[in-house]
Amino acid sequence: MRKLKFHPCGNFKEDYEKDLTLFETDFGRTWMWIGIAALFLIIPVTFKAYWLYVLNHIGIAAIAAIGLNLLIGFTGQISLGHGAFFGVGAYGAAILATSLNLPFWLSVPCAGLITALVGMVFGIPSARLKHLYLLIATLAGQFIIQYLFVQWESLTRGAEGITLPPATLFGLRIKGDRPFFFLIFSCFVTLTWVAVNLVRTRYGRAFIAIRDNERAAAGMGIPLFRYKLLSFAISSFYAGFAGGLSAYYIGSITPEPFSLLLSIEFIAMIIIGGLGSIPGSVFGTLFIMLLNEGLGAITEFFMNLSAFSGVALTLAPLREFVFGLAIVLFIIFEPRGLAEVWRIVRSSFRLWPFSY
C-alpha cells in the first residue's frame, strides 16, 4: 500500500497532474466515500418521510444550481432564465412521457437535451453581448418561455397543466419519497461527479479562461462563441434534467412555479454558496432550502397558536424579506460565499494550534 498523503506545508505542485488532482490528501477521498455511504445507507433509513421530501427537493435544486454555477461561476456568463429552463425540462419530460409514451429513463435525459437546445438558442446573444446586456437577454428569455408555457395550449395544456405517468425503472415502479431519494441522489452524485471532472478538462479550463479574460482567451485560440454556447448547453442540460426529475417527483406540472423568482432563487443559491465552486452550489442550495423550511416552520408555528394566527398570515411575506436579506448580507460580508466560510473553518482546524 502506498503511503497516505497528508497536507504539504506549502505549494509543491510540480506538474499538471498534481494541479489537476481532485483530492490533495487521502483524507478527502475517505471522507467523500464516508459521505456517500451515509447519504445512501443511513439517511434514507433514519430520516422521516417529510425530511426525505425536503431532501429530495434539495437534491433536485442542487443539480440545477451546479449547472448554473458552471455557467455563471466558471464561464462568467450571467443567466436570469434558469427558472424557465428548469420549466422547459419539466414540460419536456411531461410531454415526452404523455404524448410519446417514452419511459422514464429516456424522457428525463431527453428533456435535458431539449433544454440544452433551448438554452443554446438563448445563449446566441452571448456572441455579441456581455454582462448587463446578456443578463437582460436571458431575462427576456425567461418571460418569453413563461408566456409559451401558458399560451401554447396545444402542447402544454396551458394553466391546466399535465399529469405524468408514474416513473418506472427496470420494471420497478418508483413511487414515494424513499425510492425517489435513491433515484434523485444517484443522479445528483453522478452529475456532480461529471461537473467536478468537467471543470478540469480542456473544456472546463477554456470556460475559466473565458471568465477571467475573454480577449486573452480568444488570443490563446479558444473559439469564444462555441465555448460559450457549449457552456449554455451544459448548464441548461443540468437545469432541464433537474426539471424533468422534479416533474416526475411531483407528478403533475403547471406553469406557475417556473417564474423569475425561481431563476433568482437559483442565482441566490450559487451566490450564497460561492461562485465558481461545485461544493459551494450544494451548500448554497442547502442554505436556501433550509432557510425556506425554517421560515415555513415559524409561520406554521404561529398558525397553530390560535391567538397568533393573524400574525402568521402577515408573516408569510417576511419569507421573501428574509430571503432578500440573506442575499444582501452574504454579498456585502462574504461575497465568496459559504464555500469560503467552509475553507476558512477547515484551514483553521488544519493549522491549529499554530494559526497565522
Binding site: 455563471i72 450571467i78 446566441i124 446573444p125 455579441r128 453581448l129 454582462h131 448587463l132 446586456y133 443578463l135 437582460i136 437577454a137 431575462l139 427576456a140 428569455g141 418571460f143 418569453i144 413563461q146 408566456y147 401558458v150 399560451q151 480577449r215 486573452a216 423569475l260 433568482i264 442565482i267 441566490a268 451566490i271 461562485l275 402577515t314 408573516l315 411575506p317 417576511l318 419569507r319 421573501e320 424579506f321 428574509v322 430571503f323 432578500g324 436579506l325 440573506a326 442575499i327 444582501v328 454579498i331 456585502i332 461575497p335
Partner: protein, 292 residues
C-alpha cells in the same frame, strides 16, 4: 379611426410613463453603471409613501405630494448609503445580485405592511384635464402622465447637459478614476444620483398607481418593463429613454388593442431579444470600445 386615435393617445401617455420610469434607471446607470433590478420595488415604495400621506394621514394632496418627493429622495439616499456603497469596486454580478436581494427585501416588506391588495388613491385629479374630442375620450391621468413626463424629461435633460452636478455625474459615469483625480466627489455623486432616481421612481410609481391602482405585484412587475425600454433607447441615453418609452408604449397598446392582451405582456421582451441581436447598444447608446 377613433379607436385608433384612442389607442394612440393611450399608448403615447403610457410611453411617457415608461420613459419617466426609464429615466430613473438611466440616471443610476449613467453615473454608477449599476443595473438596478429593484427598480419596480422602488417605484412601488414611492407609490405607497404617497398612499400613506394622502389616504391614511389625510394630508392635502400638494403637501402629501411634496412630502412623498422628499421621502423618496431620502429613500434613494438611504439605499445608496447602506447597500450600494460597500459594493464600489466589486464585480458586476455581485452588484446585480445585491439589487435582486434588495428587490426581494422591499417586496417582502411592502407585502408585510400593506398586503397584496389593490389600493386606490383618493380621486384628486381635476376633471378639466380630461379631453373629449368626438368619440375619443382621454381620462385626466393620461394627460397628467404626458405633462409630467415631458416636464421631468426636459428638466433632467437640461440638468445633465448644463448644471455642474449633472456634469460631475456624467464625468463619473465616463471614467471614475479620471473624475476622482479631477476632484469630483464620486461618493456624493453616487448618493445624489440614487436620491434623484428615487424621486423619479416615486413620480412614475404614483402615476402608475393613479392609472391602474396600487398593488405591490403590479408595480414591481412594471419595473421590469423598463429593461426593454432602456435597451431599445440605449442604456445611458435620456433621449433614448424617451423614444424607447414611446415606441414601447405604442407597440404595447396597439398589440393589446388589435391582436391579443396576452401577447401585449410579452411583446416588449420579444422586441428586446431582436434589438439585442441586431443593435445591442440600442438606438442612442454608447458603443463600448474595449481595449486589452
Amino acid at each position: 379611426m377613433s379607436f385608433f386615435l384612442q389607442l394612440f393617445i393611450q399608448g403615447l401617455s403610457i410611453g411617457f410613463l415608461y420613459a419617466l420610469a426609464a429615466l430613473g434607471f438611466v440616471i443610476i446607470f449613467k453615473s454608477s453603471s449599476v443595473l438596478n433590478l429593484a427598480h419596480g420595488e422602488i417605484m412601488a415604495m414611492g407609490a405607497f409613501i404617497f398612499l400613506i400621506f394622502s389616504l391614511w394621514l389625510k394630508l392635502p394632496i400638494p403637501v402629501a405630494f411634496v412630502l412623498t418627493l422628499v421621502g423618496s429622495f431620502a429613500l434613494g439616499f438611504f439605499i445608496e448609503r447602506f447597500f450600494l456603497r460597500p459594493m464600489i469596486g466589486e464585480s458586476l454580478i455581485y452588484v446585480i445580485m445585491l439589487t435582486v436581494g434588495m428587490a426581494a427585501m422591499f417586496k417582502g416588506l411592502m407585502l408585510f405592511v400593506f398586503g397584496g391588495n389593490l389600493f386606490n388613491y383618493p380621486d384628486f385629479l381635476p376633471k378639466s384635464l380630461s379631453i373629449q374630442w368626438r368619440a375619443v375620450h382621454i381620462p385626466p391621468v393620461y394627460t397628467v402622465s404626458l405633462l409630467i413626463g415631458l416636464v421631468f424629461l426636459a428638466i433632467f435633460g437640461l440638468f445633465f447637459k448644463y448644471s455642474s452636478q449633472g456634469i460631475y455625474m456624467r464625468s463619473v459615469a465616463d471614467n471614475q478614476v479620471a473624475a476622482l483625480s479631477l476632484g469630483v466627489h464620486v461618493r456624493r455623486v453616487f448618493a445624489l444620483s440614487w436620491a434623484i432616481a428615487g424621486l423619479v421612481c416615486a413620480m412614475s410609481g404614483i402615476i402608475l398607481g393613479i392609472m391602474n391602482g396600487i398593488s405591490v405585484h403590479e408595480i414591481s412587475h412594471m419595473g421590469l418593463k423598463v429593461f426593454p425600454v432602456v435597451i431599445l433607447g440605449g442604456l445611458e441615453s435620456i433621449p433614448g429613454a424617451i423614444i424607447g418609452g414611446i415606441i414601447m408604449g405604442l407597440l404595447e397598446t396597439f398589440t393589446g388593442g388589435y391582436v391579443s392582451t396576452a401577447l401585449r405582456e410579452v411583446l416588449p421582451y420579444i422586441v428586446l431579444v431582436f434589438i439585442l441581436l441586431i443593435k445591442p447598444h440600442g438606438l442612442f447608446g454608447l458603443v463600448e470600445i474595449e481595449r486589452v
